[in-house]
């Protein structure tokens, strides 16, 4: 076989891995690879800031379930990507980030645009590599894709010196990847499955607490089967929304800091908590020693280090959620002790109690005439999109109102930065999702603060015809921080008023997009309808909402989950 360059080998390897889209930003050391990409069928999208590239690759990955790929140059290109990498890491998103590096001979010399990106990203990648030998380039790339997508997924960074990409090499034949040090446990221990199912048989007040792991493992159907046949009520984390249909009567929506009253009450009063692909994050548990005090806890997770990290688990099930749920469903089906009708009867009273809590304090807000309430905007978007759009969010109030008032019925429909809480995520992620699903309606629900963090990506959207929509809930504040100041800092609004924001309608025009504005409640629906009717252009909807609206319920940080502020 004739020799090819490292850059050509990279392109070949990417194609072998099924990569069709890359989000990136070029620079000196990565020119060889950019040049080689021109001869391939891979679409190579130029973003306007490297953080946008990584978030777009992340949005592409979350929406499609495939590995997202970002391509950055060395030095500032790489460091600009770090927030995006950390975002993906916290939410376990499969992603490969390729960075250029200065030639090997210059590494360590403080060369122009040199930075130790492998050192910098060590704590926020699943794994990372500096390719120091051209012969290792392709094997490392293959390993990177394998690691990113398998087990508990996550971002993997490969740092590639310029001279490695220029080196001549033979393209190695593909081999099955076997790693001595990495063998995720996919199948549950049968004894643990039995224990878990027996606990379900015996429980009087069981709850399913569902996280992003169910979405990552594509096991929403298995989960729905388990919930429906056992009639166990379901609550989801922010990352889990969509894993179980939000309109199913068993769904009590999200739990935790801004979860529903019923969700938090049922967890608090449960005698069996079945955690599936969730990690007992502090936004869920509140004060740890009062979390689900009477519950026996089953925890299904592919990552052993998630088990008993924050909350002591009684029945751990280390496995891929899909395999664990399948095994549990099969166990119950074949058990003489399990009967669907009898179970529905057994849990009837408990479900009535849960519904009663929900009826007592449903998610709600006060209508204030023509003043636009943000919750109403989300409800209207939900209604007019038939609950079927891909929704991305920024971080803060916009994110929580979306989680509360948009009823996600499908997985991979809500793309949001849950763990890291990255403002500026939503717009580039929406572009990534739109590139993956050009025919889907993709809407970034944003605040006037967070949209400005990556607003430059409007140009990317325009350039590649990614006709996303942006709904800005504009209150002239950094709303969530302001809310904390209102509740806990005596309304001292330090650093939160956004006294100057661009005119978003004019800004839309400047970026070749359509700008719409609603200032009164009756303008909300027409604006959304108009936006939804435009399919060939980016649309920005500027909703001028009530300035000091808060997200409720709210569990103050560090308090028990039953100590919810309701209004």
């Amino acid at each position: 076989m004739s020799k090819i360059t490292g850059a050509q080998a990279i392109v070949k390897c990417l194609q072998e891995e099924g990569v069709d889209t890359i989000f990136g930003f070029p620079g000196g050391v990565i020119l060889d690879l950019y040049d080689a990409l021109m001869d391939s069928s891979i679409s190579n999208l130029l973003v306007r800031h490297e953080q946008g590239a990584v978030h777009a690759a992340d949005g592409y990955a979350r929406a499609s379930g495939r590995v997202g790929v970002a391509l950055l140059t060395s030095g500032p290109g790489a460091t600009n990507g770090v927030t995006g990498i950390a975002t993906a890491y916290m939410d376990s998103i499969p992603m490969v980030v390729l960075t250029g590096q200065v030639p090997r001979a210059l590494i360590g010399n403080d060369a122009f645009q040199e930075v130790d990106i492998v050192g910098i990203t060590r704590p926020c990648t699943k794994h990372n590599y500096l390719v120091s030998d051209p012969d290792e380039l392709v094997p490392i790339l293959r390993e990177a894709f394998y690691l990113a997508a398998s087990g508990r997924p996550g971002p993997v960074l490969v740092d590639m010196p310029k001279d490695v990409m220029a080196a001549k090499m033979d393209y190695p034949a593909k081999e099955e990847i076997r790693m001595q040090t990495y063998q995720p446990t996919l199948d549950p221990h049968p004894g643990q499955v039995t224990k878990a199912c027996k606990a379900i048989l015996k429980a009087r007040r069981p709850v399913l607490y569902v996280g992003g792991g169910v979405i990552l493992s594509n096991s929403n159907q298995e989960l729905t089967e388990l919930a429906e046949k056992t009639q166990i009520p379901v609550t989801m984390t922010l990352m889990g929304l969509g894993a179980f249909p939000g309109t199913n009567p068993l769904s009590m929506g999200m739990l935790g800091m801004h979860g529903s009253y019923a969700a938090n009450m049922m967890v608090a009063k449960s005698d069996l908590l079945i955690a599936v692909g969730a990690r007992f994050d502090d936004r869920i548990t509140g004060r740890l020693d009062t979390f689900a005090p009477d519950a026996e806890i089953i925890h299904i997770d592919i990552d052993p280090s998630s088990i008993s990290k924050n909350v002591k688990v009684d029945i751990p099930l280390v496995a891929d959620c899909k395999n664990a749920l399948t095994a549990m469903n099969a166990w119950l089906d074949s058990s003489a002790e399990f009967d669907r009708a009898a179970f529905a009867e057994k849990h009837r009273e408990w479900n009535e109690q849960v519904r009663e809590w929900n009826a007592k304090h449903p998610l709600s807000y006060q209508d204030e005439g023509e003043i636009i309430k943000p919750q109403f905007v989300i409800e209207t978007i939900n209604r007019l999109t038939g609950g079927d759009a891909i929704i991305t969010t920024e971080v803060g109030q916009n994110q929580m109102w979306t989680a509360q008032f948009y009823k996600f019925n499908q997985p991979r429909q809500l793309l949001t930065s849950g763990g890291l809480g990255t403002m500026g995520y939503g717009l580039p992620a929406a572009i990534g999702a739109k590139v993956a699903f050009p025919d889907k309606t993709v809407i970034d629900i944003a605040g006037d603060g967070s949209i400005q963090m990556n607003i430059q990506e409007l140009a990317t959207a325009k350039q590649y015809g990614a006709a996303v929509k942006v709904a800005i809930l504009n209150n002239g504040y950094l709303g969530m921080v302001r809310q904390w100041q209102e509740l806990f800092y005596n309304r001292r609004y330090s650093g939160t008023p956004m006294e100057v924001t661009p005119d978003f309608v004019e800004l839309a025009k400047a970026y070749g997009a359509v700008g719409l504005r609603a200032k009164t409640k009756s303008e909300v629906e027409p604006v959304i309808k108009e936006a939804l009717a435009i399919n060939d252009k980016v649309v920005i909807m500027d909703f001028v909402i009530k300035r000091e609206e808060c997200v409720f319920p709210m569990i103050p940080a560090g308090r028990s989950t039953t100590e919810m502020l309701l209004a």
Partner: protein, 160 residues
Amino acid sequence: MKHTLSVLLRNKPGALSRVTGLFSGRGFNIESLCVAETLDPQVSCLTLVTRGSDAIIEQIMKQLHKLIDVIKVSDISEGEYVEREMVLIRMKAEAGTRAEVLRVIDIFRGKVVDVSPTSYTVEITGSESKVRAVIDILRPIGIKEIVRTGTIAMARVPKK
């Protein structure tokens, strides 16, 4: 409680920093750390002494295991094991104290490995507590400088 962990890791650039970064990043503490190649030059053995409740040690072991470069993690202080540390001590060795230094070294089965007109450099090997005891006894006589290796340890009966 004190735990001595033995970690086998791939002998790759940056592997050690993944381990130490994990400890600092997650707020675990390292009391001592000792690392060198094993019989297989591609594998390093790292002996790490840490403290924590059972839950914390369990978390440390799981997090270590999660690192791609880590091959095997064992808490060898769970069973019987031998541990050794070596210390090099430069002692003031003047007319009045030379004999006493030698006597103490002899009691602890140490040896003098370097001599200058004003100092002895002595080497002592033993458990961490023995090393501490020697230092405590020699300190009033006049220690100029010490260098300790940190603990290395090995399980007495290899686990199946």
